[in-house]
């Protein structure tokens, strides 16, 4: 069953452009003609992976970083921009200053405002040196002449000046400030998670204005337009990793599977495009930081199903489970980790939101194929073979059996997710 589902980037599109011009490597104010050292370009490529630029800025079957990926939002569809070095349609005329301004302040070189689908609220924490390296790398990718697709936003959201209001409410500019009381490793992890990793884009609740509040950072939320729930990273009752080992967290991030659970849904894309490329040291640093922000905050579960219905659901659910699920996940939900995740004690099944558990039963899914797990095992989809009642029953069963403390789910809730978007 799915462990964290986070999808950072998708939330929206990026709007615009990343940018940039000639690279000015820190320290050596060079001329445009001077090529940045290969080491800086390599570092930039690595950091661009950490920022998962490719996921949004490359369209399905499109050219690398040429943009054009349509990203549905509650306000309309945004299209990502061309960030190849083409001078007319890409960022070929930008300077390193332009690029930094875009990353750090969410503004185009001409001062225009980016839509916050581009996660500049996170990227603002990226250092100037790292921004310059990413820019140096982007200058080396093949230039593609492809004009940006205009956004399709509904009135009144097509008025960019509204972004000013959004920024006042939700945007705080400023590079990452290390916490001197913490280790270098912790600070490195925090920098990656809060900055380039832009994990908060999904794992922080999004409000009706499309903003997320800093006071609720990493508390989880339903990802708009996708119907996947990005669990809280701060609550051990959800995806909080407080009682996971550093190795288990690292495995989840880098391999996509672990002894405690596997990634599916939007988080599978993040691991596939980004996290699997992180070094062992950086992965470990993120694990150390993520483990530290988790805390227990037990919240009483609210059941939407009456007790009589719940007991019927559980009884049918056990029948379905024994027939369809036990062969892989074990008669007692013990699983066969890491390929068949345990369900007993699995936080992502017991969360207040049952969305991910229902969707995994309906749609199944493969964890991403990664360098460290190139041939993943997959969960079969049961949308065709199980009725709404059976889906609700088996999800109710796994959420409440073996000491799990989730709540039952009814057939209407299961039915609603049959039409959830699958892309």
């Amino acid at each position: 069953m799915s462990r964290q589902n986070r999808r950072c980037q998708l939330l929206l599109t990026t709007i615009s452009a990343f940018v940039v011009g000639a690279l000015v490597p820190a320290g050596a104010q060079n001329s445009e003609a001077q090529q940045p050292p290969e080491a800086i370009v390599k570092k930039g490529e690595y950091l661009a992976r950490a920022g998962d630029c490719i996921a949004c800025h490359t369209a399905p079957e499109g050219k690398l970083f040429a943009g054009g990926r349509g990203m549905p939002t509650p306000f309309g569809t945004l299209y990502t921009s061309n960030i190849t070095p083409d001078p007319e349609t890409g960022i070929g005329k930008w300077t390193a200053d332009d690029f930094y301004k875009t990353m750090h302040d969410g503004r185009f070189p001409d001062g225009g405002l980016l839509y916050p689908a581009m996660p500049f609220g996170s990227y603002t924490k990226v250092t100037r040196e790292d921004s310059d390296a990413i820019f140096a790398y982007l200058k080396t990718v093949p230039a593609v002449r492809q004009p940006d697709h205009p956004h399709e936003l509904q009135f009144p959201y097509n008025n960019r000046s509204l972004i000013l209001g959004w920024r006042t409410l939700f945007f705080t500019e400023g590079e990452f400030q290390p916490d001197p009381k913490q280790s270098d490793e912790w600070n490195r992890g925090a920098y990656l998670v809060e900055g380039l990793g832009h994990c908060g884009m999904c794992h922080t609740p999004i409000n009706a204005l499309g903003g997320s509040s800093e006071s609720k950072a990493f508390q989880g939320g339903l990802i708009p337009m996708q119907d996947w729930y990005a669990p809280s990273l701060t609550s051990n009752k959800e995806a909080g990793l407080g009682d996971w080992s550093i190795e288990e967290i690292s495995d989840l991030l880098q391999k996509g599977i672990s002894a405690r659970g596997a990634v599916y849904g939007p988080m599978a894309e993040v691991v596939y495009n980004s996290l699997q490329y992180m070094t062992d040291d950086d992965t470990r640093a993120m694990a150390v930081y993520l483990k530290s922000i988790a805390q227990d905050e037990p919240k009483p579960a609210r059941a939407s199903v009456g007790s009589q219905e719940a007991s019927l659901l559980r009884s049918l659910g056990k029948t379905v489970y024994d027939k369809q699920c036990a062969s892989c996940h074990g008669a007692e939900g013990e699983g066969r980790p890491p390929h068949y995740p345990p369900l007993a004690g699995n936080q992502s099944i017991q969360m207040e939101s049952s969305v991910n558990a229902v969707r995994m039963v309906l749609n199944g899914g493969y964890p991403p194929a990664t360098y460290k797990n190139p041939m993943p095992h997959g969960m079969p989809p049961f949308a065709v073979s199980l009725s709404d009642d059976e889906v609700a029953a088996v999800v109710s069963y796994i959420r409440t059996a073996w000491g799990n403390r989730g709540t039952p789910v009814n057939a209407a809730e299961a039915n609603k997710l049959r039409s959830a978007p699958l892309q």
């Binding site: 079957e61 890491p338 699958l422």
Partner: protein
Amino acid sequence: MFVKTLLLTCCLSFLGLDVGLAQEGKSYPADMADRVQACTPCHGQEGRGTNDPYFPRLAGKPAGYLYNQLEAFKSGRRKYPPMNYLLAFLTDDYLRQFADYFADQHPALPGPPATDASKSVLEHGQALVTQGDLDRAIPACVSCHGGPLTGQSPGIPGLLGLRASYISAQLGGWRYGTRTANAPDCMQLVAGRLTEDDVRAVAAYLAGQPLPTDPVPAPAGSFALPFACGSQPDGGHKP
């Protein structure tokens, strides 16, 4: 407990390494069936198909054809959201292993289902399948899919053992552009020349044919194709 879990994980990962090795002469590991469990609710154990007529059998189809479909679903070129979703984050190497595995499976095939198509419909279907229609530039199915209709490796699938509703859905998909293949997309050209009645007749006739004793596709290059086809880049000539 923690130490136990850790030990277990280590053991399993070592096991995983063992079973992850390809068997001799095969591109996929011995436990491949476990890795494709996700395919079974719709395509059946070993890809033999299920009673649901919408989902095709996979077993024994040419590996190149299966790979082309998997790759097209992964990239979104062939559109079917449940498949697009499942394959989105798998690698091309792994999809080749899927394809090789299913191509190697030869479970017993079901007999043809009863049909309610009329004699004249079946005759029309037979004519298109075996002779085509020169006046409308429609080639016979057998000219590419082979006299016994078992296909040709690596890219051309057999047409027997499929249900009428699946065949007509695929031909419809090509006519309306929701199913496409590598250019030149020969099936799109052919399907575009068929009428609704043609599709119904071809699907009914094909679905009613008994299965050949040897359902294995003809070897690559065993007969030439009448025109270029992106799925069979060497045109049916010996590579």
